[in-house]
């Protein structure tokens, strides 16, 4: 019935107020509203406010390789510790293979390794499995579920480290989240240099001090024959293109307690550091034993510099020299302070929009909405006269409700989302058109004006709902499958369809009801 029940009027007034209150923060300058009023503005997507979206993937291949290498070193030190001789310790495919020299010690070696290698899994048992093979061989592999938990663990730790690094850069409100099992999404709004961001996030920053193998014959190295305990690392120190260093690292970045930008005796930029107790002790021991020999300071498998040990360093602190600028020394200190990533991260997707381009997009979007809305208002009022005005009023409330709901839920408004908003306005008008056309049908069928208007609302409702469920389905699917901007489009469409059915049906109903009550008209203005 067109009778205006109280709850309908209350609902209409409440929805209009809701829209107005939550839209208001977007229309006035920040901070001009009293503190009890909602302050949230529309949450603009990176494509509208400018910023960088980076999707990283943990390099699981490198992670596996790294874990196997560490495990190999563990096997070596455990066997050395028990004075069991062995040969041929190496990574073969996905396993580590070692041959125990003394056949009587194979069982003892197996027992020692079985208890000491790897880590305990949450599900019970250890993450490595050992097998004895013919001819005194023992092979060690990671169990299957360990690979997954290692990747997940790497992602979790990487997120922590990335957060620290970005915070240190002073980038505002970065959002860092895990995506899927082995991906990390970084969204940094504002005018930040994406290359700088990538340089800081993507560097593994694994620091090691390794002894240079001065005994390796240059002609062997040139022929590609590297001693089995050594590795050839490229160098950035400007003195040699590469160094042959011992695989075993003396100290690692994990033993650092602090790092900061500093200067060497010639006032060139350098990175100062200090070790924890273990690092101090190890470094003191090695420098005492190797006076006069060079060691390499290695970052991510590249030599930064290879200084000669002039005397024992027992204080546990020092500086790293190299070809630094003030900025690169500062950046390296930052990376060392926040720790190394557990595995290399690769960029698999990047979208960066400059702030200026974003601002242009906002302007273009706002203009399109204003023009689109103005055209709709004009057209609907020309087409349906007074009832068109009612529909236009409903549309204004609808607009307020959409912006209000988007601000309240802090859903992201993207550039395609603006297109979604415009389309929603057209869909909203459709509900009114369905109602008005139904009224016209009912009048044609011989009903009096008031009853026809009433029937228009009730009978059109099923059609309106049927027609809009389809758009809702499309929006839900877009939200599910779409990424970034498309999700924004879907969300805007979703909110818009719901509010538009509400406003088009209820608000026009109340307005038409008031009009009948006020003018007691015997005809409809749309016939």
């Amino acid at each position: 019935m067109l009778a205006l029940s109280r709850w309908k009027v209350i609902l209409v007034v409440a929805s209009a107020l809701f829209g107005l209150i939550f839209t208001l923060p977007n229309l006035v300058p920040v901070g001009s509203l009293p503190s009890w009023a909602p302050q949230q503005r529309l949450n603009l997507g990176l494509d509208l406010q400018g910023g960088s979206y980076l999707l990283y993937e943990v390099d699981t291949v490198a992670l596996r390789k790294e874990r196997l290498t560490n495990l190999t070193e563990d096997v070596r030190s455990k066997l050395h510790g028990e004075q069991i001789d062995f040969t041929g310790l190496a990574v073969v495919g996905d396993a580590i293979d070692v041959r125990i020299s003394d056949p009587t010690k194979v069982d003892a070696a197996f027992k020692i390794l079985n208890g000491a290698l790897g880590e305990r899994l949450l599900t019970g048992g250890r993450d490595v499995s050992l097998q004895t093979r013919p001819d005194q061989h023992i092979s060690v592999t990671f169990v299957a579920q360990a690979a997954n938990s290692a990747a997940t663990d790497a992602v979790t730790r990487s997120i922590e480290i990335i957060r620290k690094r970005i915070d240190a850069l002073g980038t505002k409100e970065p959002i860092i989240t895990q995506q899927g099992t082995n991906r990390i999404r970084v969204e940094a709004p504002g005018e930040s240099d994406p290359e700088k961001l990538k340089a800081v996030i993507g560097k593994t920053a694994k620091l090691t001090f390794q002894m240079v193998d001065v005994d390796a014959a240059p002609e062997d190295v040139a022929a590609g024959r590297i001693p089995p305990d050594d590795e050839l690392l490229p160098s950035d120190d400007g003195f040699a293109p590469a160094y042959v260093v011992k695989k075993r690292s003396v100290v690692t970045g994990e033993m650092l307690t602090s790092a900061s930008g500093s200067h060497d005796e010639n006032n060139a930029p350098a990175v100062g550091f200090s070790f924890n107790a273990v690092g101090t002790q190890r470094f003191a021991q090695v420098t005492t034993q190797n006076v006069g020999k060079p060691f390499a300071i290695v970052l991510d498998k590249r030599v930064i510099s290879a200084p000669r040990i002039n005397g024992a360093i027992t204080g546990g602190s020092g500086i790293i020299t190299g070809r630094f600028t003030e900025e690169s020394a500062h950046d390296l200190a930052l990376l060392l302070k926040t720790g190394a990533l557990p595995a290399p991260l690769n960029v698999v997707e990047q979208h960066t929009v400059g702030a200026e381009l974003g601002a242009d997009a906002v302007k273009a979007g706002a203009l399109s909405i204003i023009i689109g809305a103005a055209l709709i208002f004009l057209f609907i009022m020309l087409a349906y006269g007074l009832f068109g005005v009612f529909a236009a009023i409903a549309l204004v409330v609808n607009g307020l409700m959409i912006v209000g709901a988007m601000s309240l839920t802090q859903a992201t408004l993207t550039l395609p989302g603006i297109a979604g908003m415009i389309l929603t306005l057209a869909v909203a008008v459709d509900a009114n058109v369905l109602i008005y056309e139904r009224m016209r049908d009912e009048v044609r069928a011989g009903r009096p004006a008031m009853s026809a208007a009433d029937a228009g609302f009730t009978r059109a409702l099923t059609t309106i709902i049927d027609a809009n469920v389809t758009t809702l389905v499309a929006a839900v699917i877009m939200f599910q499958f779409g990424s970034g901007p498309v999700k924004g489009f879907a969300w805007t469409l979703f909110i818009g369809v719901i509010t538009s059915v509400f406003t088009a049906v209820l608000i026009t109903q109340v307005l038409v009801g008031w009009w009948f009550r006020a003018f007691r008209s015997k005809t409809l203005p749309i016939i």
Partner: protein, 314 residues
């Protein structure tokens, strides 16, 4: 005169179904042309689906020296690099594929360094990089989204109406999506995620339009039990015609603002949406309903035929 709705005839009696054969022929030709277009020349895939990098750069006051940029980038040896200006002479766009096995982020850094060396100070308005895994995932999820959307629409119409209505609606959806692809192929629009959103919206809109006609058809079938289906369809389309016209015009007006003022990046989206609204309206009248006629003709013939003095009961 005002309101303008008074100008629309109260009742129209167009014989829409009479043109169904002609419309079907045109539709089939257009669909075949699109299918051929898929193979040759094929979709112009954007980096969302192909992978690769797009950089938009601005050189401030001076114009971009495209030759210099090309030379600098050829020296990097990263394969085919497209460089062109767009809009202003100081705005350029650089596109390339990441070479196999290379780290996309490193290549971008190299390219930016090379461009800066060639041109001096450059600001980047936009940097988009999509790796090969991500692009193939997006391709899969895009196709899945379209198919699931169409499938769910079939289920919904089947549930709300009858199976043959659902089939009519789905054929219409395939028709609309295919022809929208046809437009994308014809205009060589870059096929991006935004266009998937546009296609999904077209599916929603076309369904919306079809549902309105079907709703009236179902109602008229109950009302006029003895009317042949052919006439029922004509009647229902005519009765909903004014709504179809007004809603369609509203949507077109709203989106034309977007197409003209919405900026370069939303233009493909708005063009496809505009086309979709026209084609969605057409298909509700000329694809969805005639399919029901083809399919449902047997079930309703008995109702339609006057058999003797007693009213027929199916």
């Amino acid at each position: 005169m005002w309101p303008l709705i008074k100008l629309l005839p109260q009742r129209t009696h167009y014989h829409f179904v009479a043109f169904a054969r002609l419309a079907a022929t045109l539709s089939i030709i257009a669909v075949i042309a699109t299918v051929i277009g898929f193979f040759y020349p094929g979709l112009n895939l954007g980096i969302d689906f192909k992978g690769g990098t797009v950089l938009e750069l601005n050189t401030g006051a001076k114009a971009v020296d495209l030759g210099k940029v090309r030379t600098a980038l050829t020296e990097l040896n990263i394969g085919d690099v497209q460089v062109q200006t767009f809009g202003q002479p100081n705005d350029a766009i650089v596109r390339f594929q990441t070479p196999k096995g290379a780290n996309p982020a490193q290549v971008v850094t190299q390219v930016k360094t090379a461009v800066s060396q060639a041109l001096g100070t450059v600001t980047y308005a936009r940097t988009d990089v999509v790796g090969p895994e991500v692009s193939s995932e997006l391709k899969f999820s895009g196709a899945a989204a379209l198919l699931i959307a169409i499938g769910l629409m079939l289920l919904y119409i089947w549930f709300r109406f009858e199976l043959q209505f659902g089939l009519g609606a789905v054929v219409a959806l395939f028709h609309d999506v295919t022809l929208s692809f046809g437009l994308i192929l014809l205009l060589r629009l870059e096929f991006s995620l935004n266009l998937i959103a546009a296609l999904l919206t077209i599916i929603g809109y076309s369904m919306n339009d079809t549902v309105v006609v079907f709703d009236r058809l179902r109602e008229n079938r109950r009302k006029f039990k003895r009317m042949p289906l052919r006439e029922l369809i004509d009647l229902s389309v005519n009765e909903t015609l004014s709504r179809t016209v007004i809603t369609g015009l509203t949507a077109l007006l709203a989106l034309s603002g977007l197409a003209i003022f919405g900026g370069e990046s939303l233009r493909p989206l708005s063009i496809v949406l505009l086309f979709g609204i026209v084609i969605g309206t057409y298909s509700s009248i000329y694809v969805a309903s005639p399919i029901i006629l083809l399919w449902g003709v047997k079930a309703d013939d008995e109702v339609a035929k006057p058999i003797g003095p007693q009213p027929a009961r199916p």
